[in-house]
């Protein structure tokens, strides 16, 4: 036992299975994980749409009307339906996973995960209401 154990990744008689590029299709939970990660595309998409909205408003009333009309086309409506599903999936998985990363302790005792998730959903409701209030005033 004089020399420390050395990792020999290329030991000739040991068998190493190559990880296929389709690894994420081999197990249901892996596929769900990749779908969760792909919500990033929907999130980026809507961020760009919001950017477009802000630019249209800054440009003037005609640009704004044109933008609204663009949003009504079948292409954008279908993109938004898909994006909405993915954004919801992002929100739900995010709230469920949040207590794993952010452990809240009150007087040394850990607050149960379900409460942290519940508080997140509560904040979601309140903020969604506020957004609707500001955007639906006229």
């Amino acid at each position: 036992m004089s020399s420390p154990a050395r990792y020999t990744p290329y030991h000739p008689r040991w068998h190493r299975r190559r990880v296929s590029v389709w690894w994420w299709l081999e197990k249901g939970s892996y596929t769900v994980f990749v779908l969760r990660e792909l919500t990033s595309v929907a999130v980026a998409f809507f961020a760009v749409v919001t950017l477009g909205l802000v630019r249209a408003v800054a440009e003037g009333p005609d640009a704004y009307q044109r933008f609204l009309a663009r949003l009504g086309t079948p292409l954008f409506l279908s993109l938004h339906v898909v994006a909405f599903v993915f954004v919801l999936f992002h929100a739900i998985t995010w709230f469920n996973l949040a207590p794993k990363a952010m452990v809240v302790r009150i007087k040394g005792k850990r607050v149960p995960d379900a409460i942290v998730t519940g508080l997140n959903y509560g904040a979601w409701l309140v903020l969604s209401g506020a957004v609707a209030f500001f955007l639906l005033r006229g």
Partner: protein, 117 residues
């Protein structure tokens, strides 16, 4: 160099993910579905302009656009890296992803602060 930025990029990712989770469903439902489909009346241009004149609203929209862009960039970067195993292109992917997010941020800031008032 990218390695030393990782904690910062992760913080941006987390902030963006939180913003997207809490605010995008409502914004998307209204702007992308309810208004174009006529279920609810969209705000008029004047109303939006009045809202956006306020500095806090400008900051709100900057955060609403920029942070989710960084969130998406960070997550998409890792998806390309792990999912498609594009390890050899790691620097290029990082530059493209975060570069896009930066560009979007710059455009948003420019548009938001070009509104007079």
């Amino acid at each position: 160099m990218l390695e030393r930025l990782t904690p910062f990029l992760w913080l941006l990712f987390s902030a963006g993910g939180t913003v997207a989770a809490l605010l995008f469903p409502a914004h998307l439902f209204l702007t992308g579905l309810a208004f174009p489909l006529g279920w609810l009346d969209p705000p008029s241009h004047e109303v939006l302009l009045t809202l956006l004149r306020h500095p806090l609203t400008r900051l709100y929209f900057l955060a609403l656009i920029s942070l989710p862009l960084f969130h998406g960039a960070h997550r998409f970067r890792y998806t390309l890296y792990d999912g498609l195993q594009l390890k050899h292109l790691t620097v290029l992917i990082a530059v493209l992803c975060y570069g896009t997010a930066l560009a979007g941020t710059a455009l948003a800031a420019h548009a938001l602060w070009s509104i007079p008032g």
